[in-house]
Symmetry: C2
Subunit: 181 residues, 2 copies
């Protein structure tokens, strides 16, 4: 499908409630554990999503709409999730993500973007020239990449417990990791 704003927004609207229904109240063996080493826990992923709401998606939308099209996005703090996680509990993080997402979508709706707006460009420091349309599709795909990651982190916790079934479970074979968007 082509990138259509309404389809993107329909997904962006649903992600906080989906994560809430999946994660709130789950035992910490699912949400505070990781895939080993310095990989992320589920809670850290939610902190990252809050960071992106506040410092990535809508700030970049504004940048594309208002800056010269050759001007690069301001750099992102790769460790931003640490600031947003702090000592918060997972329920607090889920609430904060829902609020941040609702605020971003309200602003996005208020922009009443035109086809011309969606074709506007800015410079990504690593990827080169990108459009507003591509940024908005990436916002939705980024939710999906972290849902994908969350399911993988959680599955990792029962890697031994499933015994020989491990080889039939696709999520156990996944080695996908996202770079900074």
């Amino acid at each position: 499908m082509g990138h259509e704003l309404e389809n993107t927004m329909a997904l962006l609207e649903r992600t906080p409630a989906a994560l809430d229904a999946l994660l709130r109240g789950l035992p910490e063996v699912w949400t505070e554990t990781n895939e080993g080493g310095d990989t992320w826990s589920v809670s850290t992923v939610i902190a990252h999503l809050i960071h992106c709401e506040n410092e990535d998606w809508m700030p970049r939308v504004r940048h594309i709409l208002h800056a010269d099209q050759t001007q690069p996005f301001p750099p992102l703090d790769r460790e931003g999730h640490v600031r947003y996680k702090g000592g918060k509990t997972l329920p607090q993080l889920l609430d904060e993500f829902a609020r941040a997402r609702a605020k971003g979508l309200e602003e996005l709706r208020g922009l009443k973007l035109t086809a011309q707006d969606l074709g506007r460009r800015a410079m990504h420091p690593a990827l080169g020239s990108v459009t507003l349309s591509e940024l908005l599709a990436t916002w939705a795909a980024h939710d999906l990449t972290h849902l994908h990651q969350i399911s993988r982190i959680m599955a990792h916790q029962v890697r031994e417990a499933v015994g020989p079934w491990v080889r039939f479970l696709g999520v156990m074979q996944c080695a996908g990791h996202s770079g900074a968007a």
Copy 2:
């Protein structure tokens, strides 16, 4: 973590509501499309989950508890999702999955499984001897493998739309596919 029944059940209880929050009312460009060829749409995945509730998980729990430990599980119908999908809409499938899961968990709770029960064995036709504990952990991991698959199917729909960001999104690199559990 070891496989602990309460942790497994906490996840199994949440999956229907999480899928409902993510998928109900989403445009069909997300839910009725697939990854090409004869791959599954999101709706087909939900039909598969219903099939497994009705013909895989609890029937296998009963088999392990009641059959001779060397007796293989009855074969599963690899195309069972087709029967469960029929002409149903996604909201109908989500409702049916939620009902089937609630029924299965009620039965599971009623069994009041002991540590001895969890160590009981049966023969898997492809994997050999497996325990009830492994089956229950696999039930939860199977939810996660399909959540992982759903996020990947949906991300596939914006593969072109994200432009150069495609290489930063882990979900776009995932080639994981599950076998029949």
